[in-house]
């Protein structure tokens, strides 16, 4: 990787290359760019498609019953609340919904770490020279526009909490099948398990968030004066150590949940029933 010498940054430093790592430092940025790009393309395509987001759509293609699955890309169900809004704006309802998780993930501390490294090469890896550091104007980080807006992460957190509630509601719905005559019966399918896994991992991701950790007790200096908040803070702190893992796992499961609903809704597969 093109580097520069340390004394080009500041007089008096050693005249040595600043990028000398010989390990596989490039692997992480490559994986991050690849996975986030793939997910973004898939999510954009699914949002644009505006179809096959409800398991009940299988009824329209002649099935006698269908599971009450709703794709996480279309939850909360804006299309049910404002059926004419999206149509009048010629836009898929998913775009209204995706703003919530997108803003939360984009301002998430773990995601920021990943994309600053992988997409902005700022830096590409620890102790590896930034390719354009010398050509850039004065570095300002998150102290100036646009990245100063990252400080509003807590508002994205409030929004995603609503999404988590809806995930639980849709998990409850996923425990039922709807018959052609409109009757509902309890039943567990493979999709229910996928929804349960997705809801659990999204919850772990959201409730291990650094902003949540701060709001729940991180602002306290006297933990002994608020024992309940202190106890919750300790639990959240423990979850927080795996926040990055939950970020990636929940990203994968939300994609799998949507893909499964699409396959069921389009009639490509029939939901395998367990109960």
């Amino acid at each position: 990787m093109a580097g520069y010498k340390a004394n080009q940054i500041e007089a008096g430093r050693a005249p040595l290359e600043t990028a000398l790592r010989q390990d596989h430092w490039w692997l992480e940025p490559v994986l991050v760019v690849g996975s986030l790009t793939l997910f973004s393309i898939y999510a954009l395509w699914r949002a644009w498609e505006g179809a096959y987001f409800s398991g009940l759509q299988a009824l329209q293609s002649g099935a006698s019953w269908a599971p009450a699955y709703l794709s996480p890309f279309y939850s909360p169900p804006v299309h049910e609340w404002f059926p004419h809004l999206a149509a009048s704006m010629h836009i898929s309802p998913a775009f209204f919904v995706l703003l919530f998780p997108l803003s939360f993930r984009a301002t998430c501390y773990h995601c920021r770490r990943s994309y600053y490294r992988a997409f902005f090469l700022d830096p590409p890896a620890c102790a590896m020279a930034e390719p354009c550091a010398q050509r850039r104007k004065a570095y300002t980080g998150e102290s100036a526009f646009p990245f100063i807006l990252q400080n509003l992460h807590r508002y994205a957190l409030y929004a995603i909490l609503v999404v988590v509630v809806f995930h639980f509601l849709h998990l409850y719905d996923a425990c039922f099948v709807v018959h052609k005559d409109g009757s509902r019966h309890f039943g567990i399918g493979v999709g229910t398990l996928i929804f349960a896994l997705d809801t659990a991992l999204l919850s772990l991701y959201v409730f291990s968030c650094h902003s949540w950790r701060h709001l729940i007790g991180g602002g306290l200096n006297r933990m002994s004066a608020a024992p309940i908040r202190s106890m919750i803070w300790t639990v959240v702190s423990s979850l927080n150590t795996r926040h990055g893992l939950y970020f990636w796992l929940s990203l994968v499961t939300v994609g799998i949940a949507d893909a499964y609903v699409r396959m069921v809704a389009s009639g490509a597969i029939t939901d395998f029933r367990i109960i």
Binding site: A127, G141, H210
Partner: protein
């Protein structure tokens, strides 16, 4: 493990120098600092290197081993030599060099002097009595040995040289330990925001990755401090509530 390794060590100062190769015999448990001292003892006594405890507690022997900031006394040679048995040892690259592996880290001490020490109101009875639950959090920060590996790897200082605006991770830890202290009465958030430049940090967590004391610098010091600063400077609802309370 190889019987012999080649050490490529920078010899020179700011005006110039070269990376010289030395062959060193190895033994079980040998660390990079042992190899450097072996060179000093038997091959070249003029090689300059700062070290003291050889137990990863004094923070003196910081260097860049194969391009990664590490304590030489905590780095086993068999973990870092390549297929040809070569290890490259360079001085820290974010600070002015004095000679060979010794750099001038005095900028850090100047920054430390600008941070007001713990300030406890006069009416708090001495000696201080605090509950463990109140101090557990800041005890982690007291593990810092001031090796300045975090300062060296921080790209704000290393690549952008913004020493004019950002204090660096070591002092984010110091300020967090004071701001979270149950007895401190100073306004650390204003200092963090206005003077120490916490906004410059874009939380790429390299400081945390290189910390030999395994302090969760970013997760436990910088991000919580960023959130505390956001409470004061970036949260419109809290700002409005504060204004309403005052009026």
């Amino acid at each position: 493990m190889r019987d012999k390794i080649q050490l490529r060590v920078y010899r020179g100062d700011a005006s110039g120098g070269e990376t010289k190769e030395y062959a060193v015999d190895t033994y079980p448990g040998m660390v990079v600092l042992d190899a450097i001292r072996e060179i000093q003892a038997s091959q070249d006594g003029s090689l300059a290197c700062r070290w003291n405890c050889k137990a990863a507690k004094c923070g003196s022997c910081s260097a860049e081993v194969n391009g990664k900031p590490r304590l030489m006394c905590k780095t086993r040679v068999e973990e870092v030599y390549d297929a040809a048995g070569v290890i490259t040892v360079h001085p820290l690259k974010s600070f002015p060099i004095i000679r060979d592996l010794v750099v001038d880290v005095s900028w850090n001490y100047k920054m430390a002097e600008t941070i007001a020490p713990l300030s406890v109101p006069d009416d708090v009875p001495r000696p201080f009595r605090m509950q463990q639950a109140d101090v557990s959090r800041v005890q982690e920060f007291r593990k810092c040995i001031e090796c300045f590996l975090c300062q060296n790897v921080c790209h704000v200082l290393r690549d952008h040289n913004r020493k004019d605006g950002y204090y660096g991770p070591r002092f984010m830890v110091k300020l967090a330990s004071l701001d979270m202290h149950p007895l401190d009465d100073q306004n650390r958030r204003e200092f963090l925001h206005e003077t120490a430049g916490i906004g410059f940090c874009n939380i790429t967590k390299c400081c945390q990755e290189v910390c030999p004391e395994e302090i969760k610098i970013t997760d436990n010091a910088i991000i919580p401090s960023k959130e505390r600063v956001a409470d004061v400077y970036y949260d419109p609802v809290r700002m409005l509530l504060r204004r309403l309370r005052r009026s």
